[in-house]
């Protein structure tokens, strides 16, 4: 049976390229909402963290009705760091809307998602959005999109994809760049005509492929997926199996069945092949599982969830300032929050350690874990994290490490510096070409080599470079990579930092703090150009009793302190340092706070080497 009453479409767009606004207009113009209805929770809206990072983290879905056809619009996470999530979402659809800002053009982040869509041979509709922008460069962006498609080996059909010129804000679409549209009808018609309806067997035994997971406190885990075959009925007995886990055959019940209508999940009694459904009531349902009819247990082949490649230790904050700024500070709080995250994020792994106060958290890269840290921090959690470490593997007795594919877009004069850094970090050039006036370089580099590179990259390309990495494969160990050739300025007295103390300390390096900051012994207050750590006393006051020559008391000028973001702090951490994370502040500290104990430990370590 051909589902002419249904189209499943994924929308690919860099954050801020107008996805939310355009989908809102599609909802309004398709009659899902009354004209004056305020759309409270705009499902495609990005949360603050996504907007700051410029990436889409949470995949969201919505649906509209047009001329009797239901169009499911599935969002795609913009960042490839959560590995496998993009392919899973794209498997639910038959076509893709590529949204590109008419001024910014296609961003490298959209490249990864586009690559997956083209590999799956999806039909493509190109939407040049925000054509009403004064700085729109429509013709150039059109060329850049075609260059991107050629770069990604698009087939002839994909190269001939229809292209529409839209203004999400005005709610207009047009087939011609120089002719303004009146409404979104051309967009709806193109979706109906260009995206093929799914061929589905709704009489066969049930088969639902779980492509996404959500969670809420009332019904627990919610599976989201497309019905590949058969008909699903609420309260139906089913069996859960998995293509990659042969012996998984678990009997369960499809308690609640929902479909997406506009912005909400509406309970339904049944749904047929082709429909995208949400369902709950199945404990431990996971991405990649197949929900089958008991009489025909047959798993759908699936993109294996890529394993984590980077690990960090999350532990209870035991610094002298512990408990002052966070709401949730205990080991129980931390453990519950981390394990709850597993319910929603299948790329994450959490393990208990032999200490009840520390947990090993593994993820798909430094950014994946830093987003988790930032999210927990904003929820009021206070904890400590160690420096990121890669997860090695031993294959046939040989040590293997995770290698990433790094793509950088830089101005022409920035290639030399990138080459220099890549040489030191064991990066191997696999592709290089000009893209407009810029150069695009592609490297295969050990994940270890990327730690701390982002800030170095932005400095060397004067902020104009764009970099993106995705896990490639495990390869034999590539040897030592210089982690950090600078030392830390470590406070050796607790108290309040004063100008006099800071003035002396700034001669030894760049400071992270300003006068009035509370410090404790063992807290890192700056970076020193030498490789060794230097103990400094930033609380040292000027004794009033001394007599001084006139003029020697001129104002002490302090250099501006370097403010470090969460990523910069994580990149800065040495193996013997921890990052204290609270909702208010980020403090780097030595694992051993006492300077004498630290010196002894280092001496012992040197002796052991």
């Amino acid at each position: 049976m051909i589902r002419n009453d249904l189209r499943n479409v994924a929308i690919i767009a860099h954050v801020d390229h107008g996805k939310t606004t355009l989908v809102d207009q599609m909802l309004k113009q398709s009659g899902t909402f009354r004209e004056n209805q305020v759309v409270e929770e705009r499902v495609m809206d990005s949360n603050a963290l996504e907007r700051e990072r410029g990436i889409t983290i949470l995949a969201k879905n919505t649906s509209v009705h047009y001329h009797g056809v239901k169009i499911n619009i599935i969002d795609t996470p913009g960042h490839a760091d959560f590995g496998g999530e993009v392919e899973r979402v794209l498997k639910m659809v038959n076509g893709v809307l590529l949204l590109v800002d008419a001024a910014e053009g296609p961003m490298p982040q959209t490249r990864f998602v586009m690559q997956k869509a083209l590999e799956l041979n999806h039909k493509l509709i190109i939407v040049v959005n925000k054509v009403d922008r004064p700085d729109a460069r429509i013709a150039e962006v059109e060329d850049e999109i075609l260059e991107l498609l050629l770069d990604l080996n698009a087939n002839d059909d994909q190269l001939e994809s229809p292209i529409l010129f839209c203004s999400g804000r005005a709610g207009t679409a047009s087939r011609y760049a120089d002719k303004e549209g009146t409404d979104l009808t051309p967009l709806f018609d193109t979706i109906l005509n260009h995206i093929p309806p799914m061929e589905a067997d709704e009489k066969g035994p049930l088969q639902i492929l779980v492509s996404s997971i959500d969670y809420n406190d009332y019904v627990g885990r919610i599976g989201i997926g497309r019905i590949e075959r058969g008909t699903a009925v609420a309260n139906q007995d089913v069996v859960i199996c998995n293509h990659n886990i042969i012996d998984l055959k678990k009997r369960s019940k499809l308690v609640n069945l929902y479909q997406i209508e506009g912005l909400s999940r509406v309970p339904v009694e049944s749904a047929v092949a082709g429909d995208i459904v949400c369902f709950s009531g199945m404990e431990g349902i996971n991405i990649g599982d197949t929900v089958c009819a008991p009489d025909k247990v047959e798993a759908v082949p699936f993109v294996k969830i890529s394993e984590p490649t980077v690990e960090m230790t999350f532990s209870v904050n035991n610094s002298p300032f512990a408990g002052k700024e966070g709401k949730f500070v205990t080991s129980r709080h931390l453990r519950d929050r981390l394990y709850r995250e597993l319910l929603r994020d299948v790329s994450l792994k959490v393990e208990d350690t032999d200490s009840a106060e520390a947990f090993k958290v593994s993820g798909r890269g430094e950014m994946h874990l830093s987003i988790l840290i930032e999210t927990m921090r904003r929820e009021g959690y206070e904890f400590q994290v160690s420096t990121p470490r890669v997860l090695y593997k031993t294959i046939d007795g040989k040590l293997y490490e995770p290698v990433e594919r790094l793509i950088v877009d830089v101005p022409e004069d920035g290639t030399g510096a990138v080459f220099q850094s890549m040489g030191e970090r064991k990066g191997e050039l696999v592709h290089m070409s000009a893209v407009g006036s810029r150069m695009r370089l592609e490297f295969l580099i050990p994940a270890r080599g990327l730690f701390g590179y982002k800030s170095e990259f932005l400095t060397s390309t004067k902020g104009e470079g764009v970099m993106n990495s995705i896990f490639f494969e495990y390869q034999p160990y590539k040897g030592d990579i210089r982690r950090r050739d600078t030392g830390s300025l470590v406070a050796f007295e607790s108290g309040e930092a004063v100008t006099y103390g800071l003035f002396n300390a700034q001669e030894r390096g760049i400071l992270f703090i300003e006068p009035g900051t509370q410090v404790y012994e063992g807290m890192v207050v700056g970076v020193s150009p030498k490789t060794e750590d230097i103990n400094v006393n930033v609380c040292k006051k000027k004794h009033m009793t001394n007599t001084r020559a006139a003029g020697s008391d001129d104002a002490m000028r302090l250099n501006a302190p370097k403010k470090m973001s969460l990523e910069e702090c994580l990149e800065f951490l040495n193996d013997d340092e921890l990052l204290e994370v609270t909702p208010v502040s980020l403090r780097i500290r030595k694992s051993i706070l006492d300077s004498e104990l630290r010196a002894k430990a280092r001496a012992k370590e040197k002796k052991a080497q």
Partner: protein, 90 residues
Amino acid sequence: MEETKSEPREESVLIEQRKKIAMTGVSAVDAFAPRRIDLTLEGGGRAQITGDGLKIVSFSKASGNFSAVGKIEGVRFFGGHEKLAKRLFG
């Protein structure tokens, strides 16, 4: 996507007006600076391009094609096909 290790392909060097150089059979770009570019060749051995204002225009490990522009002063080969190097550039 696995990078396939293809059989070492034919090596060729084309220099136009001493301003543009195109090579095939290149497996890696080892170092790059405005006055020198070091390459590893699929057939074994290495090549070194010297000149001034050198800029890499394109390289693809998958196809082995490499091209650069600038003032080309010389190309030297080390190891690999000894005789070819001697005849071409002494």
